[in-house]
C-alpha cells in the first residue's frame, strides 16, 4: 500500500525533507554475509557487444531518410545587442526549410523562463538564429548568409573581472554581478570562540578554473511527431525528466511525449531535460512534418553546454596544539554564468567532513558573460575538497603532524552538519587501507638530491551522498519461454546500470543473467525512474528491481504450488535457485522455472516494485580516501602522477568490474582537473581560447598513473535492500586535492591555483626560495 511519508531526499549533496509517496518493501534485505551467485561477481556488461560493434544507437545515430538538420547561429561576442538581422539570403538558399530568429520567431519562443532568442546577447555562443535544412552542410551554408549588425557592450568574462572594482554589468540593464551580496550562509557553533581557542590558524586562498565536461557525444536532440504525439531522442541523463520538461515547454500533456535515450555518450552532470536545441527540434519537426535533428558541434559544446563553475575560496582553519579543530571558515565565490543559478554546494565538505564545533560557510554566486554553469560530476565537492584538504595539509605542517593523523584526530563518528549517526561510514577503513597500500607510514621523507625530479606523497578524503531513494519503480515480466523482461525508467551513462539491473533481477529470480533482458532509456515501456545524477541510480533502482522480481517470484510460487499439488503452501515456502522452484520442506518437490512458464502459456506474470523509504534519522553518505604519489621536475615544473591508491566505502559492490571502471574514470577526470584542464578566456575579447579538444586538454592514455583500487567498509544493510550506494561521483572528489598535496610534499611549496601547470610549479618554487 502506498503511503505518504516525509522522508529525507538527498541529491548532489543537498538534503531536504520532502513528502514523497512510498511503499514499504516486502523483499527481505540481503545480509552482509548473504551468499549471492550473481551480485558481487565481476560481470561483463550486458550491453557490451552492441557497444563494441557500433550497433548501439546513440542520439547522434538516430536518422531517417528525409530527416532535416537544424543548426544554430551563435553570438560571436561576449556581450552585444542585435541592431538588425536579415535572413532573406539564407531563406532563399535551396534546401533551407526554415529560419527562425528574434525578428521571425518560432511558434513557442520561451524556455527556462526566457526567450529562445534574446535581443541582448550575454555570452559568446548564445543562440541568435536557427536554420533547418535538408542536411548539415546546407544548414551551415545558410548560417553564413545571415546578416547581423551588433552593438557591442562592455563585458565581464570571468570571476576576477565580474567581482572587481567598476565591473562591467553582465546585463546592460545593470544589477550587481554578485547575485546575493549576503551570500548563501551556513553556520554552526560560535566562530569567534573557535578563533580564541585556536593555537594555530591557517588562512589560505585557492582558485579553481572553469572545467568543461567534454562529453564525447555532444548535446543534441532528434524530434519526430506522429499526429499530436512527439518522440524525442535526447542525449540525456534523465529520460523521465526529458519527458516532463519537453511536455512543459511545448505546453502539451506528458502522455504526448515519449523520450528515448538508450545509449548516451557521456553526461557527467551536463545533460538533463529539454534544452533550447530540443525545443527547436520539436518545433521545427512539427512545422515541417519531418524528423528534425539538432546536434551541437564540439565548439558549441564548449560555448553553450555548461561547465564546472570557477571558484575562489578562502579557507581559515584553527586548531589546538594536538590538532583538534576549533573552527573552520570557508568563503567561496563561484561563477555561475549570465543565466546561472545562485546555488552551489562548494561549502559541503567544509560543513560535513570533519568533527568541528564552530563552522561557517558562505558562497557568493557571481554572474559573468559566459553561458550558465551546470552540475559537473560531484559539483562543488571537487573544488571544495581541493581547498579544504589543501588547507588541512598546511595546518598539519604547521602543527608538525602527519596529514593522515590530523584527519584521524578530527574524525567524525556522526554527521557533523546533521548531528545524526551514519548508517555506516567506512572512512577509517579507507584511510587504513589506502595508507597501507601506498606505504604511507614508510614513505620516503627525503627527496633525491641528484637530478631535477622530486618525489612526493599526498592524500585527501572524500564525502558525498549516493544513498539514492524513492521514487523509483520497476516491472518484471515473466515470458512463456522462461525468460524475463525487466523494465525501469532509468538510463545508463556508461556507469553499468544495464548490468547491475540484470544482476539483481537474475539473483532474485535465481536465473542466469543471459535470461534477463533489461529495458531502460525509454519512457514508453517503463515506469518512472530517477535521473542519473548525484550518484543515485544504483541505490534507487536496484532495490525497486529486487522488489519487482520478488513480487513476480511470489506469483510464480503460487503457480508452482498448484502445479506441485501443494496448493496450501505459502509462496514463502518455496526457494527459487538455479532455474528451479523448490519446496523448502521437501526439496524433492521441485519444478523448473521454464516448465511453469511454459504452462502459463500467454498468461503473463507481471511483478512490480517501488523503492522503499530511506532510514529515518540516519545519514546516508559515501566516503573514501585517495593517496597519490607524484614526481615533480623542479627545473621544468612538470608533474607526473605515478600512482593513485583509491579506497572507497560504498557498501555492497554489485559489479566489481564496472565499479573499478568508475574509480579509474573518476580519478582520471580528477587528475585532469588537477593538472591540465581549464577554460582559457581572453580578457581583452572575452572569448574562449580553448573551445575544442586540443586546446582544452583532457587526459589521454599517456597521462594515467598506475592504479590500486580497494572497496572497503561494510555492506550498508540499513541503506536499502541491496546494500549498495552510488559510485559515480565519489572517485572524482579527492584526486586534485591529493595530487596538489603530493606536489607540495615533493617541492616544499604549495600551488594554490588549479590546474597545477609547470609555470605555476616554477612560480611556487621561486616564491618559496625568495621567502627562505
Amino acid at each position: 500500500m502506498p503511503t505518504i511519508k516525509v522522508t529525507k531526499v538527498e541529491f548532489e549533496g543537498r538534503i531536504e525533507e520532502r513528502e514523497v509517496i512510498v511503499e514499504e518493501e516486502n523483499v527481505p534485505r540481503w545480509d552482509a554475509d548473504a551468499q549471492l551467485d550473481v551480485v558481487g561477481k565481476p560481470t561483463p556488461r550486458v550491453d557490451g557487444v552492441v557497444r563494441v560493434t557500433g550497433q548501439a544507437v546513440y542520439t547522434h545515430d538516430v536518422q531517417r531518410s528525409g530527416m532535416l538538420v537544424g543548426r544554430f547561429l551563435r553570438s560571436p561576442h561576449p556581450h552585444a545587442r542585435i541592431q538588425h538581422i536579415d535572413s532573406s539570403k539564407a531563406e532563399a538558399l535551396r534546401g533551407v526549410w526554415l529560419v527562425w530568429h528574434r525578428g521571425q520567431p518560432p511558434p513557442i519562443g520561451r524556455i527556462d523562463g526566457r526567450d529562445l532568442f534574446a535581443q541582448e546577447l550575454v555570452y559568446e555562443g548564445e543562440e541568435i538564429a536557427l536554420v533547418v535544412a535538408c542536411d548539415e552542410r546546407v544548414a551551415e551554408d545558410a548560417l553564413k548568409l545571415i546578416e547581423i549588425e551588433y552593438e557591442t557592450l562592455p563585458f565581464a568574462p570571468d570571476l576576477d573581472t565580474a567581482i572587481g572594482q567598476d565591473a562591467p554589468p553582465v546585463f546592460a540593464g545593470g544589477g550587481g554581478n554578485v547575485i546575493d551580496p549576503d551570500g548563501d550562509v551556513y553556520e554552526r557553533g560560535d566562530l569567534e570562540r573557535g578563533r580564541q581557542e585556536a593555537d594555530v590558524v591557517v588562512d589560505l586562498t585557492f582558485t579553481t578554473p572553469i572545467a568543461s565536461h567534454c562529453c564525447l557525444e555532444t548535446h543534441g536532440s532528434v524530434a519526430q511527431w506522429e499526429g499530436d504525439r512527439l518522440t524525442v531522442w535526447h542525449s540525456t541523463q534523465s529520460v523521465w525528466g526529458t519527458r516532463s520538461s519537453s511536455a512543459e515547454v511545448l505546453d502539451i500533456p506528458q502522455d504526448q511525449v515519449r523520450a528515448i535515450c538508450r545509449y548516451v555518450g557521456g553526461g557527467f552532470g551536463s545533460k538533463w531535460g529539454a534544452e533550447r536545441y530540443t525545443l527547436a527540434a520539436a518545433l521545427a519537426a512539427r512545422e515541417t512534418g519531418r524528423m528534425v535533428k539538432v546536434l551541437l558541434d564540439r565548439r558549441e559544446e564548449h560555448l553553450a553546454a555548461g561547465y564546472r563553475p570557477s571558484s575562489k575560496q578562502r579557507v581559515r582553519i584553527g586548531a589546538r596544539r594536538d590538532g583538534t579543530l576549533t573552527f573552520l571558515d570557508h568563503e567561496a565565490w563561484v561563477v555561475t554564468g549570465a543565466y546561472g543559478g545562485g546555488g552551489s554546494i562548494i561549502g559541503g565538505p567544509a560543513k560535513d567532513l570533519y568533527r568541528c564545533p564552530n563552522v561557517r560557510t558562505v558562497v557568493w554566486a557571481v554572474r559573468a558573460n559566459t553561458d550558465a554553469g551546470r552540475a559537473f560530476r560531484a559539483p562543488g565537492y571537487v573544488e571544495g575538497t581541493f581547498a579544504l584538504e589543501g588547507a588541512m595539509d598546511t595546518l598539519a605542517a604547521e602543527l608538525g603532524m602527519d596529514p593522515l593523523d590530523l584527519r584521524l584526530q578530527n574524525y567524525a563518528e556522526e554527521s557533523p552538519a546533521r548531528g545524526i549517526p551514519y548508517t555506516v561510514k567506512g572512512l577509517r577503513e579507507a584511510y587504513e587501507s589506502g595508507a597501507e597500500r601506498i606505504g604511507w607510514r614508510d614513505r620516503e621523507q627525503a627527496t633525491p638530491k641528484d637530478g631535477p625530479w622530486r618525489r612526493g606523497w599526498g592524500m585527501a578524503s572524500q564525502i558525498w551522498g549516493g544513498g539514492g531513494g524513492p521514487p523509483a519503480n520497476a516491472m518484471v515480466k515473466l515470458l512463456s519461454d522462461g525468460t524475463v523482461d525487466v523494465l525501469a525508467g532509468v538510463q545508463d551513462l556508461g556507469t553499468g546500470t544495464w548490468t547491475v539491473i540484470a544482476q539483481v533481477a537474475a539473483e532474485e529470480l535465481g536465473l542466469p543473467i543471459d535470461d534477463v533482458r533489461v529495458v531502460i532509456g525509454d519512457t514508453e515501456p517503463t515506469p518512472f525512474g530517477p535521473g542519473s545524477g548525484g550518484s543515485v541510480t544504483l541505490a534507487s533502482i536496484t532495490p525497486a528491481v529486487r522488489e519487482a522480481a520478488h513480487d513476480a517470484k511470489r506469483q510464480l510460487a503460487d503457480l508452482a504450488a498448484y502445479m506441485l499439488e501443494l496448493s496450501d503452501a505459502s509462496p514463502q515456502a518455496f526457494d527459487i535457485a538455479q532455474g528451479e522452484i523448490v519446496y523448502r520442506d521437501d526439496p524433492d518437490k521441485r519444478i523448473p522455472f521454464r516448465e511453469v512458464a511454459a504452462k502459463m502459456g500467454n498468461y503473463m506474470i507481471v511483478g512490480r516494485g517501488a523503492r522503499g523509504p530511506n532510514p529515518d534519522d540516519k545519514a546516508l553518505n559515501t566516503f573514501g580516501a585517495q593517496f597519490a604519489e607524484v614526481e615533480v621536475n623542479v627545473e621544468t615544473g612538470e608533474v607526473r602522477v605515478r600512482k593513485v591508491v583509491a579506497a572507497h566505502a560504498n557498501g555492497r559492490i554489485v559489479n566489481p568490474l564496472t565499479a573499478a571502471s568508475q574509480v579509474y574514470g573518476g580519478v582520471t577526470m580528477g587528475l585532469g582537473f588537477g593538472t591540465m584542464e581549464g577554460r582559457v578566456i581572453d580578457k581583452r575579447t572575452g572569448l574562449q581560447m580553448t573551445a575544442n579538444l586540443e586546446d582544452y586538454r583532457i587526459p589521454t592514455i599517456m597521462d594515467v598513473p598506475a592504479f590500486d583500487v580497494a572497496f572497503v567498509g561494510p555492506v550498508d544493510v540499513e541503506a536499502n535492500s541491496v546494500g549498495g550506494k552510488g559510485l559515480g561521483e565519489p572517485p572524482i572528489i579527492p584526486p586534485a586535492a591529493a595530487i596538489a598535496n603530493a606536489v607540495a610534499d615533493a617541492i616544499g611549496a604549495r600551488v594554490f591555483d588549479l590546474p597545477i601547470t609547470p609555470d605555476r610549479v616554477l612560480t611556487a618554487l621561486k616564491q618559496a626560495q625568495e621567502e627562505a
Binding site: V49, G54, L216, G265, G266, F268, L493, Q662
Partner: protein, 168 residues
C-alpha cells in the same frame, strides 16, 4: 547570389567499405565520416569533434588508421575502408572486441568504435606490443570516461589471444 555558397555538383564515387562496393553521388566536400554515416547508414564511427582531435571516427584505410572526419570521401575511391560496423565476421566478434567486453574497456562506449579500430590496426602492425607501445599508439583516441587502464589490459589480452592463434 545565394547559391554561391553551394559546392560543385555531386560526383559519383565508388567506395569499398567492409568488403562491399558501393556507389554514391556526393558533393566533393563530403567527409568520409558523413558519407559512412548518412549515405551508407554505418553509424558505428562517431563524430566527437569533427577536427581530428578525439579519434572517435577512426577507421582503417588500406591498412592504416585514419580520422574519417578529416578524410574526403572522394579521396577514398579505389581504397579498402574498414569500419567497426564490419569488424565482427559471421556474428563472431573480433578478438579485440571480445577483449574490450571481457576487460570492461569502455564506459559510455561512444569512443569505443574508434578505440577498437585503432587497437585492431595496432595489433596488425605490431602483434606483440609492449604496454608503452600501446599507450603511445592509442594516444590519439580520447576517452572522457577514463577507461584507459582497461583499454591497455584489453589490448594486451587480445595480443595474447592472437599469439595463441599463431601457435595453432
Amino acid at each position: 547570389m545565394a547559391l554561391a555558397f553551394r559546392g560543385p555538383t555531386r560526383v559519383p564515387v565508388t567506395l569499398n567499405v567492409n568488403g562491399s562496393v558501393v556507389k554514391v553521388l556526393i558533393e566533393p566536400r563530403r567527409t568520409l565520416l558523413s558519407v559512412l554515416r548518412e549515405e551508407l547508414g554505418l553509424t558505428g564511427s562517431k563524430r566527437g569533434c569533427g577536427r581530428g582531435q578525439c579519434g572517435a571516427c577512426t577507421v582503417i584505410i588500406d591498412g592504416e588508421t585514419a580520422y574519417a572526419c578529416l578524410t574526403l570521401a572522394i579521396d577514398c575511391e579505389g581504397r579498402q575502408i574498414r569500419t567497426v560496423d564490419g569488424l565482427a565476421e559471421g556474428g563472431r566478434l573480433h578478438p579485440v572486441q571480445e577483449a574490450f567486453v571481457a576487460h570492461d574497456a569502455y564506459q559510455c562506449g561512444f569512443c569505443t568504435p574508434g578505440q577498437v579500430m585503432s587497437a585492431v590496426s595496432l595489433l596488425e602492425h605490431n602483434p606483440h606490443p609492449s604496454e608503452a607501445e600501446i599507450r603511445h599508439e592509442m594516444a590519439g583516441n580520447l576517452c572522457r570516461c577514463g577507461a584507459y587502464p582497461n583499454i591497455v589490459e584489453a589490448i594486451l589480452a587480445a595480443a595474447e589471444e592472437g599469439e595463441g592463434h599463431a601457435d595453432d
